[in-house]
């Protein structure tokens, strides 16, 4: 039993690592294609059919590029920072049930690395640790723009984490557990949390979704690495695979957040049937697509606007939401 469990866990870890590293690459392809279509362009076309092998070309480029450590950087921290971003992104995946459990050759597989009872807290915590990548990388880079980006990162971080935490308090009160599997089972019986409790769930869902954009640093809140203001922010001095690790971390984070949102609010994988599993993947695809969609459509906000939004608008709404949920549930 112990050995079997160990082997199963290792296999699951490896599969998740491989699948989501590959998905991060393919995610860049989808991003470029969808952004291009929305801007009436074609996107990558020349490498492979429909530019599909562009991902491989980019990978080769990233792996073979010279790894530059500039003169004045704090080298150990500079080298460490991208690893933090990428590894925390994948660590957060440990508590996410990607699919309902299924049987293969008479062996029941739980597609979750560790069903710990504080699942969502662990995920949010680890994703919060992921911010140390941009923060340390930006501060160690000996570059004005990187430093600005690190400062922005810290400011953004304390703003959105409040909203994330408070917004999921109401659903947690409904479910009475922090495990994502319990969330899923609760929603089988009581319907999707979005529609629960007279709109409380819906407000929580919207708040969490907005905060997810800040969490992953996607476009309306893409101010940590804004090309048109501060070059690439913390990524300015990075090159080659170190920069690639930041990239993989960012895209893996997008995928994992896209898993977490439906699992928390939109019924997850449902009753565990094949249809439910496909529905979950469809929801994930929609949320990932939405990340790209907003990037094509919306402008970026300033850091002070983001802080204004988080502290003065979203946080009061979240607190009121929790109060209303508590009053209704009493």
């Amino acid at each position: 039993m112990e050995v079997a469990y160990l082997i199963e866990t290792v296999i699951k870890v490896v599969v998740i690592l491989l699948v989501f590293s590959a998905l991060a690459g393919i995610g860049t392809y989808f991003e470029r294609k969808i952004l291009a279509f929305m801007q009436r362009r074609l996107g990558p076309m020349n490498v492979g059919p429909f530019g599909l092998l562009q991902v491989a070309a980019d990978g080769i480029k990233l792996f073979t590029k010279e790894d530059i450590i500039p003169t004045n950087v704090v080298a150990p921290i500079f080298k460490m920072a991208p690893v933090i971003t990428a590894s925390t992104a994948f660590m957060a995946a440990a508590a996410i049930p990607f699919l309902p459990e299924f049987e293969i050759f008479g062996y029941t597989v739980h597609p979750i690395v560790a069903d710990i009872n504080i699942g969502i807290l662990y995920i949010l915590g680890i994703m919060g640790v992921g911010l140390y990548g941009p923060l340390l990388g930006g501060m160690a880079s000996a570059n004005k723009f990187a430093l600005l980006s690190a400062a922005r990162g810290a400011a953004v971080f304390i703003s959105y984490e409040v909203v994330t935490g408070l917004s999921i308090l109401a659903p947690i009160m409904m479910v009475g557990s922090l495990s994502l599997i319990d969330f899923n089972n609760y929603q089988i019986e009581n319907g999707w949390i979005v529609f629960n409790l007279y709109g409380v769930g819906f407000v929580a869902f919207i708040l969490f979704w907005i905060a997810a954009f800040a969490e992953t640093g996607r476009t309306p809140f893409h101010l940590i690495a804004n090309d048109h203001e501060i070059i690439d922010g913390f990524g300015t001095e990075y090159s080659g695979m170190r920069w690639g690790l930041f990239f993989i971390g960012e895209y893996a984070n997008m995928f994992f957040i896209s898993f977490v949102i439906p699992l928390l609010f939109l019924g997850g994988y449902g009753d565990g049937s094949l249809l439910g599993a496909l529905a979950l993947l469809g929801k994930v695809a929609f949320f990932f697509f939405f990340f790209l969609w907003t990037r094509a459509a919306w402008p970026d906000v300033r850091p002070d606007q983001l802080m204004w939004l988080c502290w003065k608008v979203l946080m009061p709404i979240a607190v009121v939401n929790i109060l209303i949920a508590a009053i209704i549930m009493i």
Partner: protein, 205 residues
């Protein structure tokens, strides 16, 4: 027409209107209502719809350049071409030297001589493309429509001077045989499809 309208330099007097910008809110309640109004006017979704509509219409404007090219205007001024006569395939250039004279960057150099039939013949004709500014005066001044600008913009060489020489500019004889020499369609051009009605002069008896 009277000139008053154009002589009036006081731009602020009329014809201009101020952009309709609402009064900036001063007190807290007005600011709050503005935020609420903007939030529920759902302008963000208008932006989302616009880009989604463009994606669904799939009206791609990309030109995949080496494979596809934009049509180029007939009056585009790329590297020069020397035309031949439709009737006899002889060079149109009569060696008048007008192009050499008018060239404002002095890049055209030509030399003429009297040939064995006592006719003026162009013995040497060079355009220094390194100096040429492609103003088009030479083509405009040419009385025979002999020198024109072509549409070939994809030249590649170590120096601009080496883009093309006189024999390269001259319409190849195969093109004359096929009747595919292109006339310049801009100012001074012959009427369209005139070349189709031209008969070759019977020179041999």
């Amino acid at each position: 027409m009277k000139n008053e309208a154009f002589n009036d330099r006081n731009v602020s007097s009329d014809g201009y209107f101020k952009v309709d910008i609402a009064e900036y809110p001063t007190d807290g309640w007005a600011k709050f209502t503005r935020v609420v109004r903007r939030t529920f006017r759902a302008e963000l979704f208008v932006g989302l719809w616009v880009v989604l509509r463009e994606m669904l219409k799939f009206d791609i404007h990309t030109i995949q350049y080496p494979l596809e090219k934009m049509p180029i205007g007939p009056r585009y001024r790329a590297v020069h071409e020397m035309k031949r006569l439709w009737e006899s395939d002889a060079e149109r250039c009569i060696g008048c030297g007008l192009c050499e004279k008018i060239c404002i960057s002095n890049c055209i150099k030509m030399d003429t001589k009297i040939d064995e039939h006592s006719r003026k013949e162009v013995s040497e004709y060079t355009i220094n493309l390194g100096r040429c500014i492609f103003c088009g005066y030479c083509a405009e001044v040419c009385p025979e429509l002999a020198i024109t600008h072509g549409g070939e913009y994809e030249n590649c060489s170590e120096q601009r001077e080496h883009f093309i020489d006189y024999t390269g500019m001259l319409t190849p004889l195969e093109m004359m045989a096929n009747g595919t020499q292109k006339e310049f369609e801009g100012f001074g051009a012959i009427t369209p499809h005139e070349d189709e009605s031209v008969k070759k002069t019977p020179l041999s008896y």
